[in-house]
Each structure stands twice: as structure tokens, then as C-alpha cells.
């Protein structure tokens, strides 16, 4: 069984983001990481592989810097690495990215796809369903846990009243919400093995995907509005004011 895990490299959630010329200044990002929901997908896929065997192929679409993330995936147990080189991911719209990823999954012949429900930078949330559509595969979104029994899978996903247990068979796509287990930490042995793994690098054209023109483009990025300054109250006489504000403005009491 081939298990593809779709990974996106995003600015680390603790990195400072600056906007310059209407665009996020990528050169100023101090640390790049796995998108957090992708980490849960990767960990779940690693557990499926350990329990039932199969090849885990880590796939990313992005610029050259994203190769490091694939090596990081190899250090925790990915068997093969595929990098579709796209210098400016922001120039592609989501359907184009889905087309590239779906073509990559076909190229490697994977039956099952794990990914995050959304990327931490764009938050579009369309990759899982979009790739499933192009692959004509079942799709389960907002997944927290997956178990495998041969080609059959059960996934736990959030529902209105609690959790749903969904049965699905391959080909299928699981788009992960926060999972039950954090991504394992790489150890020295894994890191030493990772450097021996070759990254298969290709372009969208190699996969037969045309990324010529997009009907959607981003006009500008802008930083979130600055937080208004906090209010400070001192002394016993301010108690009534504070209680009033907590009740009427903050609605917390």
C-alpha cells in the first residue's frame, strides 16, 4: 500500500511575519516548519505504516527551501520523498496546486492520501477535498484519528454532537484536524538515515500539469490591525468599574 502525505512548508507559528510592498516578506521569516495540521497527518500515516506496513511517500509542492522539510519527514520515517518545484507558490491558485498534488499522487501510485485540513499560511482548506475530487477518491475531512484494516479504514472526525466514526475504503483522502498524537521527534538514527534518502524533484510540467494562467490572484497582504492598548486599573475604588467592564464590555461575567 502506498501512503502519500501531502506536506506544506509554512512560516513557523512562532516566527515573526512582516509585510513589505503588500506581500509577506519571506526573506525575513526566521524559521520554516511543517504546517501544523500536516504534522498530525504525517504522524497518523506513520502509525498506519508501522501497524500495517506500506510505503510512506512525503510529497510537497513549493520552492527549493521546502526540500529541508522533506528531509525532516524522512528523519521521522518517510520512505520516499517527492518535491514538485514551484518557485512562487503564491502565484498559483488552489485548483492549480490541487492539480499538481493529484498528479504527483498518481505518479507515485499511492492509494491513500493524508494531509492537513488547511495550511497555516493560506488557510484555504481546499487541498484535501480538491485532490480527492481529481483522484475520484473518497474524502474524509476534519479527521483526528485513522485506523487501517487492509484497504479499509475507519476515521474519527468531529461532528455536531461529538465524534463520528467513518468507514471508508481506498482510494481515499484524509484531511486532518488536530490529531490525537503530536508528530514524533526525530532521533539521531533517523536523521542519519534521512541524509541517505534521495528527493525526487520534478516540475509541474514533468507531471503534465499546466500552470500557465490563474483566474485568481492575491492583491495584497496586510498585517492584522494592531491591538488597542490595554487598560490598567489600580486601587480598591476601581473594583466597580472593572466589574462593570467585565460584565458589559467583555461579557465574561
Amino acid at each position: 500500500m502506498g501512503i502519500a502525505v501531502l506536506l506544506k512548508q509554512v512560516p513557523d507559528t512562532t516566527a515573526k511575519i512582516t509585510v513589505s510592498g503588500g506581500r509577506v516578506d519571506e526573506a525575513a521569516v526566521s524559521k520554516w516548519s511543517f504546517s501544523p495540521y500536516d504534522e498530525y497527518a504525517l504522524e497518523s500515516a506513520l502509525q498506519i505504516k508501522e501497524a500495517g506496513g506500506g510505503d510512506l511517500i512525503a510529497v510537497t509542492c513549493g520552492p527549493a527551501r521546502a526540500a529541508k522539510m522533506l528531509t525532516d519527514a524522512a528523519a521521522v520515517g518517510a520512505d520516499a520523498l517527492v518535491h514538485i518545484l514551484v518557485d512562487d507558490l503564491g502565484a498559483l491558485d488552489t485548483t492549480q496546486v490541487q492539480a499538481i498534488l493529484a498528479a504527483a499522487v498518481k505518479h507515485i501510485g499511492a492509494d491513500v492520501v493524508f494531509c492537513g485540513k488547511q495550511a497555516a499560511d493560506t488557510n484555504a482548506g481546499s487541498t484535501g477535498p480538491g485532490v480527492a475530487h481529481l483522484l475520484d477518491a473518497s474524502c474524509v475531512t476534519m479527521v483526528s484519528e485513522v485506523a487501517a484494516d487492509g484497504d479499509s479504514f475507519t476515521a474519527i472526525r468531529a461532528s455536531a454532537g461529538g465524534n463520528e466514526r467513518v468507514a471508508v475504503s481506498s482510494p481515499c483522502v484524509f484531511a486532518f484536524d488536530k490529531g490525537t498524537t503530536e508528530l514524533r521527534r526525530p532521533n539521531v538514527r533517523g536523521i542519519m538515515m534521512a541524509k541517505k534518502k534521495i528527493i525526487e524533484t520534478m516540475t509541474p510540467a514533468d507531471l503534465g500539469v499546466d500552470t500557465g494562467s490563474s483566474s485568481v490572484s492575491i492583491d495584497t497582504h496586510s498585517p492584522p490591525p494592531e491591538k488597542p492598548p490595554g487598560q490598567k486599573f489600580e486601587g480598591a475604588e476601581s473594583v466597580a468599574t472593572v466589574v462593570g467592564k467585565l460584565r458589559d464590555e467583555a461579557n465574561v461575567i
Partner: protein, 390 residues
């Protein structure tokens, strides 16, 4: 905020991808596990057992050793591991130094095949903890005159004596103990269950509070004959272990200094006095500039020494210089960082006082600052000045 290590001369670009990945893995572990918990560990005076488990799982214990389950990493990688651990706390780096350089290394270099196969895989995995007994209550810088004795009793050795200031002692499953057998210093492996062996913890430390420090007491302690390290006699044994540990300290001190520098820089930028951040005043900038200068020199010293360790061209005097210089510089930076933090610098909200107090120990252990000066003095003049004897 993500931790951004001071790296003014881009030492990062001199590392291999593998070295960077190992450094980042340890860095992340320290950020997630050590830094949020270290102040409580210090207050409680415990080394959290989970850290032992984690370090074993990460595979960083005895990292530069090759074979017997150990990965054989470069000494640069080992240095980076020490740097990141000590950025968290000197006690965590001490645990790893003692396990890898002082307990695993002598078994790896001087042990029998049986000893290597028996102990090293479990020590690398963190399942067994080791300690190193050289220093005695009355013999610190002068270990050659140690009192601890071993006697050959035919079918066993009998150990008598006491060791002091032993990191990991109380939590150790085995101790590498240096004792005189017929007047010659030999290494012995003592296991915690051996009759006549106890390891009471030393309490009341104001330094390395999250590290276990112990006495080792041998009172007619019987150990089997196959627990002697066959491959070494004399002070060469313990000193070759100390060379590796001192090398690791030269990197670790850089980590502690980076932690103090980062805290001082952030504090200086956010602390407003006379309507402006104190970072905008020349006296503070002068201090920050001095800190950056000394850290950068220390980094390059440690890196170059690491390259010499990796190609085998190092000398013990070069290790003495790096250990002495980098600990001294880190301690001065901790003091200067405390000064920049003003009164806030004494609070455990900041890592400053903890690093400062730790570094006072690091300055003294593994060869005191002064002893390293004498090692270099002997190198320069050809005259030993340790003792008045000829």
C-alpha cells in the same frame, strides 16, 4: 517567539545538513521540555527522569562513539548537542556529558568486548545511567594522590574509599571508579547493587540545582574480577575522559552565554527608562556589543577545536584553552546580563541568575580555571607549576 541563536559569523554555514538537523532537534526539545520546566526542577532540586528517557530516545547520549549501538556522530555534532542542552541548563548538559564522555567513553575505549556489549547499548538508550568517580573529598585538582584503594582478593576486588562531587551518582546504575590497585590507578565498573557501595546525594547546592550531585562511598565493596577496565593504567584513563567532557563544555558554555545574551537584548529593547528603551543608550550598547564579541570568539574557538577533534589533530592544551576561555566568557556575560536586567535579573522569570550560578560550578569542575592556566603555562614554558616537587 522562535529562538534565534546569535551567530554573527555564520558558523551555521560551516555545518553539514546532518549537524544542523541534530542541533535543531535538540534545540526544539530544549525549547519544549527544558525551558518551561527548568525553574521548577531547580526549586525541587530534581533532574526530571523524563529528560533521561527523552535524551535516550533522541540518541544523543555517547553520540560521538561508534559501534555498540552508538551512532558515531562528528565531534562538531556532539558540541552542538552540548551547546543546545546548556542553553537550557548546565545541569542537563552535565547529565549528558557525564553519561557520554565520562562513563560511556572509558568503557568504549578501555573496556573489554564483553563490557562494551553489555553496557554501551543500554547507556546510549538512556536505560542505564552512568557516573564517574575520580574526585575525592581531599583530592580535587590533585587526583593522582587519591586514597581510594582496590585490593585483589583472588576471586574479586575489594574497594575502599570515598568520592565526592559526583554528577548523576545517586541516580546511576553504574559508576566508573578510579582507584589504586597496587599503587597504580585503574578503572573499575561498580554497579549500584554491589555490596558495600552507597551513593548519598549532596544537598544544599546554590548551583546546578537540577542536577544530581553525590558522594560515592565504598566500604569493603566487593566487585567481580571482570569489572576492571583492562585497557588503561594511570591518570591517562581519567584524563582522556575529561578531555572529551571539557571539549563538550567549551560548546555548552556558548549555549549558556547565548541564552543570557538573548534575554539581555530583549530586555534592553523593551525596558523603558528616561522615555527610551535602555538599548538606545551607549553604555548598554557597549555591553551588548562586548557580549556579542566574546560569544562570537567562543563559537569560533569551539568550532575549530571540533574540527581538530574530528581530524585527530587536537592537543589537551587546546582543549584546556577552550574550556577555560568559554566558561570564563559565559560567566562574565551572565553577570553583565544580570546588570542589564537591573533588579529583574535576579528573578527566575529570566534565566540569568540560574546560568550564572551554574557557571560558577562549571568554572571549577572538569579542571578548574586555574589548573587549565597551569596546563597552558607548562605548554608555554616547559615548566610544570602544579606542585613544588621537582
Amino acid at each position: 517567539m522562535a529562538y534565534e541563536a546569535l551567530d554573527f559569523y555564520d558558523v551555521d554555514s560551516l555545518l553539514t545538513d546532518e549537524e544542523r538537523m541534530i542541533r535543531d532537534a535538540v534545540r526544539d526539545w530544549v525549547d519544549e521540555n527544558v525551558i518551561p520546566n527548568i525553574e521548577k526542577a531547580c526549586r525541587d532540586e530534581v533532574f526530571p527522569d523524563q529528560w533521561r528517557v527523552d535524551l535516550g530516545e533522541m540518541g544523543v547520549l555517547g553520540a560521538p562513539l561508534e559501534g555498540y549501538g552508538c551512532p558515531g556522530l562528528s565531534y562538531i555534532a556532539y558540541g552542538l548537542i552540548c551547546q543546545e542542552l546548556e542553553r537550557g541548563d548546565s545541569g542537563v548538559r552535565s547529565f549528558a556529558s557525564v553519561q557520554g564522555s565520562l562513563a560511556m567513553y572509558p568503557i568504549w575505549d578501555f573496556g573489554s568486548e564483553e563490557q562494551k556489549n553489555h553496557y554501551l547499548p543500554k547507556m546510549h538508550a538512556g536505560e542505564w545511567v552512568g557516573c564517574f568517580g575520580l574526585t575525592e573529598p581531599d583530592y580535587g585538582s590533585n587526583p593522582g594522590d587519591m586514597i581510594t584503594r582496590a585490593e585483589d582478593k583472588g576471586d574479586h576486588y575489594l574497594l575502599n574509599g570515598a568520592k565526592m562531587w559526583i554528577t548523576n551518582g545517586t541516580i546511576a546504575d553504574l559508576a566508573i571508579v578510579w582507584a589504586k590497585l597496587d599503587g597504580v590507578i585503574r578503572g573499575f565498573i561498580v554497579e549500584k547493587e554491589d555490596p558495600g557501595f552507597t551513593a548519598p546525594e549532596m544537598t544544599g547546592k546554590h548551583s546546578l540545582k537540577a542536577s544530581v550531585t553525590s558522594e560515592l562511598v565504598f566500604q569493603d565493596c566487593r566487585i567481580p574480577k571482570d569489572r576492571i577496565l583492562p585497557g588503561v593504567e594511570g591518570l591517562k584513563g581519567p584524563f582522556s575522559c575529561l578531555n572529551n567532557a571539557r571539549y563538550g563544555i567549551s560548546w555548552g558554555a556558548v549555549g549558556a552565554a547565548q541564552s543570557c545574551f538573548n534575554s539581555a537584548r530583549e530586555y534592553a529593547l523593551s525596558r523603558i527608562q528616561f522615555d527610551h528603551p535602555i538599548a538606545s543608550y551607549q553604555l548598554v550598547q557597549n555591553k551588548l556589543s562586548w557580549m556579542l564579541r566574546e560569544i562570537t570568539k567562543g563559537q569560533l574557538l569551539a568550532f575549530h577545536l571540533g574540527k581538530k577533534k574530528d581530524d585527530g589533530t587536537w592537543t589537551p592544551e587546546q582543549i584546556s584553552l577552550a574550556k577555560m576561555n568559554n566558561v570564563d566568557m559565559a560567566l562574565e556575560i551572565a553577570r553583565m546580563a544580570r546588570d542589564i536586567h537591573g533588579a529583574n535579573g535576579i528573578l527566575d522569570e529570566y534565566p540569568i541568575m540560574r546560568h550564572m550560578a551554574n557557571l560558577e560550578s562549571v568554572k571549577t569542575y572538569e579542571g578548574t580555571h586555574d589548573i587549565h592556566n597551569l596546563i597552558i603555562g607548562r605548554h608555554i614554558t616547559g615548566i610544570q607549576a602544579f606542585t613544588r616537587e621537582p
